[in-house]
Symmetry: C2
Subunit: 333 residues, 2 copies
Amino acid sequence: MHMRNKATLKNIANQLGISISTVSRALKDHPDIATSTKKKVRELADLMDFEPNAFAVYLRTNQSKVIGVIVPELSNFFYHSFVTSVEEEARKMGYSLIILQSANDPVVEEANLKLCKLNRVAGIFVALTPETKDLSPFDRINASGIPILFFDKVPDDNEYIKVCIADREVGKIAARAIIESKRKKVFALFGNANLSITRKRKQGLVDELKTLSPFIDITTLTVNNSHDAKKVTIDMLKSNQRAEVIFCMSDEILTGVIMAIHQSGFVIPSDVGLLAISNGFVPKLMNPEITYIETSGDQLGRRAMKTFGEVLEKGITKKLDIIESRLIKGGSL
Amino acid sequence: MHMRNKATLKNIANQLGISISTVSRALKDHPDIATSTKKKVRELADLMDFEPNAFAVYLRTNQSKVIGVIVPELSNFFYHSFVTSVEEEARKMGYSLIILQSANDPVVEEANLKLCKLNRVAGIFVALTPETKDLSPFDRINASGIPILFFDKVPDDNEYIKVCIADREVGKIAARAIIESKRKKVFALFGNANLSITRKRKQGLVDELKTLSPFIDITTLTVNNSHDAKKVTIDMLKSNQRAEVIFCMSDEILTGVIMAIHQSGFVIPSDVGLLAISNGFVPKLMNPEITYIETSGDQLGRRAMKTFGEVLEKGITKKLDIIESRLIKGGSL
DNA sequence: TTATAAATTGCAAAGGTTTGCGACAATTTT
DNA sequence: AAAATTGTCGCAAACCTTTGCAATTTATAA
């Protein structure tokens, strides 16, 4: 079965004996076109299963309906759920996603940025790599007219569009939960210190702890990944400095800590308390469930997409959007 | 600073006083072009930071360097790791990914398919929805020249390109592990029965169990999601028909079962044994670690991308690629 | 009835690249 | 010295859509 006619504007025009431009306008309900013409065109277009050639449109308008999303890694609950919900929202607005992972490497991150530019994306969502120092590639992209929206791992500078968790507040919530638990000796694990998200969470936790309960004993530590977290926790647990409560600033750290506690033969919460910042998946899987401060990628994603809508409409170039979170009580404290 | 010239073939040609076609050919090392010319062109192109306009190329060649990936949902470890590794491999081959979720809805699945077609993807990777009965949309896409590669959740029909887990064998491995554990009363939970993956795993498990240990007592049940799995497990546990071992055919089911066991106050493995098909993330998080048969999305992803390479090169239209798996012993049996 | 406005439609260029084919000059072969 | 070959390069069409502007027809006002 040889398809005689591809579904293009030209073919529709030929078959109807009218011009391409009329077809084009009819299809997008342009007021210039007579209702009767519109009807004819639409009917034939439907019949032929016409879909405008996306590339031709992009080429002409120089704007695609694709959003680039760059995350450190997809194998992370938080980004995961972020991407999922962005995808859902984007679809509703007629956008598709190009999802890219920077694998925590600024070089890959820049390559991804380039890829986005190559694909003339309508915009880019970025969660920064911990190692990213130089923001000039982002500035260049911005200058070339592609809006960039930073989420979660955002730059300090306020000259950008940012959507993030109320990180300092999250730290404070954690502090209050710890104080309420009456535990005094805290072992707090944080991710890469370059990230403002890390600094803010730590600051929130430490400040609030010190303010509300001055003589609390807190040890903070920086770890690079789940494996690191496991190691330092095992060491801590077998030392004579065993903490009464362990705080984990992320799911990745949390999984390491859980394995460490299990492996060391300790029991939650009687031997050691546990508190995390998480989206809840892992906490709810444990027995007892782990108390956590919820940071929902879903919510962040939806908000990001909404903000992106505003950016496109109103051409905003700077904005700070903050999402609140709350304590979900399990039995680990 | 106003950018006077965009980096296009035309501009390069103008500045060098040669034609567009010569520039185009020079840049792709066409033998017709003199070495000296190539050198000049390349130098200026580098200087101008020239990148061919992807859309123009696509429009002309009608082929993009983008692969569509359609999964039931991204919030599933397995697909997750699949996507991650496909992305890595794809990048190496110069491809990008459009990732789409069908949310287990055939309607969305078809819409996604359409989106892929719209974007003239070079190929599509699909894990079928459990509800997908009608494969004709896929056939149509295939007929239009876009190769489709099914993975994990694949159609029965052998007229397609398929990359999947050795599902029957996985079931058999599970059976042998159960027999070795000496537990007799089995409660086995499976996902949607429409899926060949489900049927095969179940068949493998049941057949091998019956063959090797004829008088074993096995109850199989179909559940739709994690929540369902939790519910039926709780019911089972509180009945007087409590099983000695629970088998979960997926991570999703496993998480529900774990929560059920916790909530019912039973202990693994003394009260009840547990065995799952999983990628290992959840199993290794538990205490004791859960014994599982490993099905790695990573591996599947890499294999899929490799197969896709062959498909493009050699124009294969049918192939069955099977990945073996193995038992990882934890302490849950 | 004629001039003016409004409603429709078409022309043609533009967007950047690829590619078959022809043009021209330099070189080699008869 | 004429003919054939080889090496370089340019012309122009094609891919499909969008859009400013001109052209045409029809309705309205003077």
